[in-house]
Amino acid sequence: MLQFFPLLFSAGLLFLLTIVTGLLPFAQAPMLAGQGVLYDGIASTGAANLVTAVVLGYRGIDTLMELTILFAAAAAGSLAFSRVRRSAGLIAEPPYILDKAIGFLLPLLLVTGFYVILHGHLTPGGGFQGGVLLASAIFLPVLSRSSAQLNHEVISLIEGLAGVTFIVIGLLALYQQGAFLQPLFDHGVFGSLLSAGSLPVLYLAVGLKVGAELAGLLSTLAAEGGEDGTA
């Protein structure tokens, strides 16, 4: 009987949403901001990837807030799980395949991560995606080798420097152009690696910050495991 009410609630919500979406004209609104970005985005930022132009050029403060939320979440998670008794790898003795595969996977993941970050203004992808790739690359040795341990001081140094870089670029733009996080520098040749002004630098900072944060969180989660030796 108790399960009946959530079902009723879901059905009512679904009905309501269906009615509301049926009444709304789909993608027929004026969409003035969207049209403006479509016509003007690439010319005003110099980034070939329009998503990057929006994320870093038009909505830079949004990205900064996202980084802040991620930082708060990672800090809270690390705080909740930081009762480390003994930092052990997940698996007491790594299986042969895992042990050997990591040697191939680690450089591949690092190169892919940095490629995705540095080409964020040209091709799909960017700081967040590449940062998660970097985090998984850094986490791989912790997964396999029980002796491997993440150097938390270096990680937090990288994270802090990346965050400071982002904000310093924003303040520099505030000083030079009169708006916080306004795209800086010359646009350069459209479509080349060194183009789009300050956007690649911002994305590099985002990627390093996300990667360092998530790697720290994952290694905190993985610590203290493996003491029962069942896996």
Binding site: G125, F128, V132, G226
Partner: protein, 90 residues
């Protein structure tokens, strides 16, 4: 061709989502959720949203599966059917 591809991907995603619900082994259910994310990521590529697809692939397949697996480890639910094997051997 494209319709067939979409059909196969949607069926794969649905089957993986159902198996994530009904699989008794939590580790296998975690693996099934990554298959769901993979199918959704391919759908995003077909819908011409490569940025979203890349985020879905990296976060859904990689990060959330890792966090789920580490959570299983902490809760003591990480089992690779070792117990059943031992009982069989005994």
């Amino acid at each position: 061709m494209s319709d067939l591809l979409v059909f196969v991907i949607v069926m794969m995603t649905l089957v993986a989502a159902l198996s994530a619900l009904i699989l008794p082994n939590f580790l296998a259910a975690t693996a099934a959720t990554t298959v769901v994310s993979l199918g959704v990521a391919v759908m995003f590529v077909l819908l011409q949203a490569p940025d979203v697809a890349m985020t879905e692939a990296v976060v859904g397949v990689g990060l959330s599966a890792l966090i789920l697996a580490l959570g299983l480890k902490r809760l003591g639910l990480w089992q690779l059917d070792l117990k059943a094997d031992k009982e069989d051997a005994d």
